[in-house]
């Protein structure tokens, strides 16, 4: 199973990764190898096996609605690429992809 260069470009774009042309070819090769490895599962005979919506046999794990200490602001912002007052600061974004 081989990915096209365009598919690699698209996946990179979705992951916000900027890849040079060399990198693209290398990623094409490596990603295809991973897909091939996983594709071995296709050889299994799954006739009559119920599809599984979730791999774990555990269900209904909840916690009570009780407060736990949050991090101090300085601690929370420690890994921020940049800080503006008590906010994370990021380069201006305009495209509203999210909700």
């Amino acid at each position: 199973m081989s990915l096209t260069l365009d598919q690699v470009r698209k996946v990179a774009q979705l992951a916000r990764l900027e890849l040079a042309e060399d990198d693209l070819a290398r990623m094409q090769h490596q990603l295809s190898a991973i897909l091939d490895y996983v594709a071995q599962l296709q050889q299994l005979d799954t006739e009559g096996v119920e599809p599984l919506a979730h791999p774990l046999p555990v269900q209904n794990v909840f916690r009570d609605d009780e407060l736990a200490p949050s991090l101090p602001v300085d601690e929370a912002l420690k890994n921020a690429p940049a800080r503006s007052g008590d906010y994370f600061a990021v380069p201006a974004v305009f495209d509203t992809t999210g909700e």
């Binding site: 119920e50 979730h54 209904n60 916690r63 609605d65 407060l67 906010y87 600061a89 201006a92």
Partner: protein, 503 residues
């Protein structure tokens, strides 16, 4: 006459749930905290942290879904009640994990409905319409970005307090056909969720948000209709904005349709477009086109285990739900003989107001009078005093006593007396003593003479009345009531009728 076009509207509503803590961690779930003061490794998406579902968030979501008449996780090929959470992958600074935990193919609730009143004049009549609910699912909210508005391209500032707070997404079928219906639907959702304690639904604070999917159907000569492409309107900041935006968008689409000579402006031929509502300019504006449809690459979240909702759980939540607004309105109409409108007014004011009303109605034995007097006297007093019904100094028994003893008085006198009771913390007897306003013992003969005098003194009113102006009669009643404080209004009316018949 056939309408020019039919508007077709589906609403997507997000409400924040009233839990103490977030959906997957113990950080505080509260609006208005100092920036980034309620975060932890889980909601910051730090490596190695694991989410655990908040039991209360799920319970509140289940309550809302049952109130919306939804089926609970009934998915073919899966056990009854089986639901799971999925990762919705996208990159945005308010989403530190780079995925949102949401629900994709097996939402915990679906296929419900909500009944709203779509009467042309909702004050006079009740015309029910069922709005279908496609699904309601439980997901986590994102943080809040603040963009630099100066135009100099300064940094975007990110506050992650809201990240991971519980959110219920309610998606309606496109069953709404006018801006008014859309607003009525939103009001009904808000009333219900507030009454159930599920959400405070404050649009100002973002605990209720709404996007509208709108297109129009234009009837064609051959009996079919032309459907315009779907537009999703975002940035709706008030119910009023929802109504205005839908109206504007329908007109805009109709213009586009009329300008389009090649038949290209058609549902299915265009990708769904997202437009933002500009409330100041009163128009929707195209947002930058995405090159392709969003690709969220959903997959089951391996960090969370599925939930299986039992019949017992459903029964328990139903049992504590109490009476829903629509049931309450019908009961008030049936039990007390109220008009649909009066029942609607009481219900819209919330359960505690209804409880007050019912106590007064039981004590005076007359629901209509209780409802009318509450509208005349208590609601204006509450809004003057900026007070909730719980804090109203006159309890239901005191108000019922007031109504029994002030029956014969004019509205003006009642307002005056109640005002005295509120200002001085007095009961009705002491207020009557202090103000001298009280029902007078009267002799009908004397009163009739006063009425005859008033009729004689108002020849113009008498002439107007003879010409069919009923209002003229009331001016005579008013004159008599004013000159003879405390005389019973109903008797005066009867005497005026009788004297006018003679005149």
């Amino acid at each position: 006459m056939a309408e020019t076009y039919k508007i077709v509207i589906g609403l997507e509503v997000h409400v924040q749930l009233l839990t103490k803590t977030k959906l997957f961690c113990g950080c505080r779930n509260k609006f208005g905290l100092p920036p980034n003061s309620a975060t932890c490794p889980v909601c910051l998406g730090l490596p190695g942290s694991l989410p655990v579902m908040n039991r209360e968030a799920f319970r509140l979501a289940l309550k809302a879904a049952l109130a919306l008449n939804c089926r609970i996780a009934s998915h073919p090929g899966h056990p009854p009640g089986f639901t799971k959470w999925d990762r919705k992958n996208y990159y945005y600074p308010d989403l530190p994990k780079n995925y949102q935990i949401s629900q994709y193919d097996l939402p915990f609730s679906h296929d419900g409905w909500l009944e709203i009143n779509v009467a042309r004049d909702p004050k006079k009549e009740f015309t029910p319409k069922r709005i279908g609910i496609i699904r309601a699912h439980l997901e986590e909210d994102a943080g809040k970005n603040t963009h630099d508005e100066s135009g100099r391209g300064g940094d975007t500032r990110v506050d992650l307090n809201r990240t991971g707070t519980p959110l219920l997404e309610i998606v309606s079928h496109p069953d709404l056909n006018t801006p008014e219906e859309a607003i009525t639907y939103l009001e009904e959702v808000r009333l219900m969720l507030r009454e159930l304690g599920v959400s405070d639904c404050e649009m100002q604070e973002g605990s209720l948000r709404c996007d509208a999917n709108v297109n129009i159907h234009v009837p064609q000569p051959d009996g079919t209709h032309h459907e315009t492409p779907l537009v999703e309107i975002k940035n709706l900041n008030s119910f009023r904005a929802v109504g205005r935006a839908i109206k504007y968008e329908a007109e805009r689409q109709y213009e586009e349709f009329r300008k389009d000579t090649r038949g290209e402006y058609r549902f299915g031929k265009w990708l769904k477009e997202t437009r933002g509502w500009d409330d100041t300019r009163g128009q929707t504006e195209g947002q930058r086109h995405k090159e392709e449809a969003a690709d969220y690459r959903y997959f089951p979240d391996p960090d969370l285990v599925p939930v299986v909702v039992s019949q017992e759980q459903i029964a328990a939540v139903k049992a504590e739900m109490g009476e829903l607004p629509q049931q309450q309105r019908s009961r008030l109409v049936g039990q007390y003989g109220l008009t649909a409108y009066d029942a609607g007014v009481l219900t819209a004011k919330g359960r505690r107001t209804v409880a007050y009303f019912e106590a007064v109605a039981a004590a005076v034995g007359d629901g209509k009078t209780a409802a009318n007097r509450m509208s005349d006297l208590i609601f204006p007093a509450l809004s003057d005093r900026r007070e909730e019904i719980d804090a109203f100094p006159v309890p239901p028994a005191g108000f019922a006593d007031f109504l029994k003893k002030t029956g014969p008085l004019s509205k003006q006198d009642r307002v005056h007396l109640l005002g005295h009771m509120l200002d001085h913390g007095a009961d009705v007897d002491r207020a009557m003593e202090a103000t001298g306003i009280k029902p007078q013992t009267f002799d009908e003969g004397t009163l009739r003479a006063k009425v005859a005098e008033a009729v004689a003194a108002n020849p113009k009113a008498v002439a107007d009345f003879k010409k069919g102006k009923d209002a003229a009669k009331m001016s005579i009643v008013g004159a008599v009531m004013k000159a003879n404080r405390g005389v019973p209004n109903d008797v005066v009316r009867r005497l005026v009728d009788e004297e006018l018949a003679k005149a």
